[in-house]
């Protein structure tokens, strides 16, 4: 009998997603009513709950999907099913400990890792166990890896490194030099994102090759070219987050040069656009395919945005505004989440071949998700533009006056945030129930 650990990971991930969206809505409500429950659940308390939960959704769903693909689809014998179970238990207990850490204000950490720093130890142990299981399993079973195996392996290794790097501030060598410390903090965050992108984008290539039944998608030279481009950006492209930090200029020159290589990705998307849209293969995995199509659209929109503000002259005006939030939400929801939902639909179809993914309500949820996300994203872009205007053009008025002038965009952001939440609930509920059914004894 196959291990149920992948399904547990996926259920855990989906729970984190819904909790994360709930915390996000609660937190964003304070943009509309700043004094609403601010002593009981201040924004500063809700934000770590939100951020940690939604990041957990991405990494847990990616982890569960990879375990699933290896064991259920490729039918490899896992090097150690016991390690996978321990991995899950460690992450589950650490997740609970992190929530306690936030609830009781043990938040000595920093943005994105606000929990008490000792909790990074079990998280790292979990990733190392995943790495051992992953590499040992593949080493035994596969010769000549397709690109997604490289991407997953890279994601796991760099995840370990950058989680460590994000905690270098605990050492005085880094901490006492503010600029160095701050830039390494943001270096690690940029590469942390790059690491989970390796896992998630690897999943998208895996799904494409399976849905199209074309292994060439993952073995051709172009796929490897983009893998190496992504890896180079993961390693050296982080500093566009810190263009305005007084680091040594060469660090920023390197980041500028590396970031600009991503124009190649944009060119490739435009070049392949027509071809990929025409190849609609509805019969096999309709919803998995639709989610991948919407990923295409969101990659297109977000890469234009990211490329533009990787140019220092544009970054100068967008940095420190909601345009950055539009980028991070656009990529985590529009790209990562659509790929992961595509994976979930693919997986549920593997478990229950008769599971009808193309239901009317799921389709409606899918459409309303994309529409809500579009207006959510636009609201943030406009709010960011107005904030930038206040910072660099008008330069008049108090911060609070500028914030008050943004309330209509915050209302729109909040309403479409609810739209995303409800849409994803509609889409995810049948999958969640199917997974629950699977783990019943």
């Amino acid at each position: 009998m196959k291990s149920k650990a992948p399904i547990y990971f996926l259920l855990f991930a989906m729970s984190a997603l819904f909790l994360g969206m709930f915390f996000g809505l609660t937190a964003s409500f304070q943009y509309l009513m700043p004094e609403f429950l601010k002593e009981q659940i201040p924004f500063s308390k809700m934000r770590p709950f939100h951020v940690t939960s939604v990041i957990s959704w991405i990494v847990l769903c990616a982890t569960g999907s990879i375990y699933f693909f290896l064991t259920y689809v490729e039918k490899f014998k896992l090097f150690s099913p016991l390690l996978a179970k321990i991995h899950f238990i460690i992450f589950l207990l650490t997740g609970i400990a992190i929530y306690f850490s936030f609830a009781f204000d043990y938040t000595e950490g920093r943005e994105y890792f606000a929990f008490t720093p000792v909790l990074i130890v079990p998280i790292l142990i979990g990733w190392v166990l995943f790495g051992i299981n992953y590499f040992k399993t593949l080493y035994k079973n596969v010769k000549g890896w397709p690109v997604y195996y490289w991407m997953w392996g890279t994601g796991i290794v760099f995840m370990c490194y950058h989680l460590l790097e994000a905690h270098f501030w605990l050492f005085d060598f880094f901490r006492l030099n503010f600029i160095k410390d701050f830039s390494i903090q943001w270096k690690s965050y940029g590469s942390f994102t790059g690491s989970w992108n390796m896992l998630v984008y690897g999943i998208s290539i895996y799904l494409m090759s399976k849905i199209k039944k074309d292994s060439n998608v993952a073995t051709n030279k172009i796929a490897f070219f983009f893998y190496f481009l992504g890896l180079t950006n993961l390693m050296f492209g982080w500093a566009h987050h810190t263009y305005l930090l007084p680091t040594q200029p060469w660090i920023r020159y390197v980041a500028y040069a590396i970031s600009m290589t991503e124009w190649v990705v944009l060119a490739s998307i435009i070049y392949n656009w027509k071809r990929s849209v025409l190849k609609v293969e509805k019969e096999n995995h309709p919803m998995a395919y639709r989610f991948l199509l919407s990923t295409d659209l969101w990659i297109f929109l977000n890469i234009i945005l990211a490329l533009l503000f990787s140019i220092p002259a544009i970054n100068f005006f967008t940095h420190g505004t909601h345009i950055t939030v539009a980028h991070s939400m656009g990529t985590t929801i529009g790209i990562n989440t659509t790929i992961l939902f595509s994976a979930l639909f693919f997986i549920v179809h593997q478990i229950y071949p008769d599971f009808k993914t193309d239901r009317k309500w799921i389709q409606r949820g899918f459409i309303s998700f994309n529409i809500s996300l579009f207006f959510f994203w636009i609201s943030l872009l406009i709010a960011g533009g107005k904030r930038s205007y206040w910072m660099y053009v008008s330069k008049t008025g108090l911060f609070s006056e500028m914030q008050d002038s943004l309330v209509p965009y915050y209302i729109s952001f909040f309403i479409f945030g609810i739209g995303i939440f409800i849409s994803l609930l509609i889409v995810a509920t049948p999958i969640f129930k199917a997974f629950l059914q699977k783990i019943k004894p």
Partner: protein
Amino acid sequence: MSTNSRPYIFAIAILLAIFGFYNYVVYNTDGYVAVEKLSPMAVKGQQLFQNNRCWSCHQLYGLGGYLGPDLTNVYSAEGKGPTYIKAFLNSGVKSMPQFTFSEEEKNELVEYFKQVDETGIYPNYDAEIEATGWVKLKYRNETSEH
């Protein structure tokens, strides 16, 4: 269909070697402007900034949350400064929770903001934007980038 992994392993090994060297240099490179290391008092202030999740709403160099203003130069900004910072800390205005920092803690936070302020300027209104897309920052105590 399998691939020939050797060239890829070779390319990854080269990238990793460059990455190792790059990290070594980055970790041993100080900021562009020489400033004092954070004092023990400023480190305590920084820890208070973290423990109370001030970064959730506030930014330093534009990095952090967007519910509150950027605090990079709150120490030296016109009309602001130590007294202003201390008055704000326990005020509980708008969405800011009502903190109960002691006088000692307020001094530690002020010391942290003072040392952050010495490192640079944000927003960097006097930066020069070049036709190449590059931005020449204006540094503390300098007129332009070398």
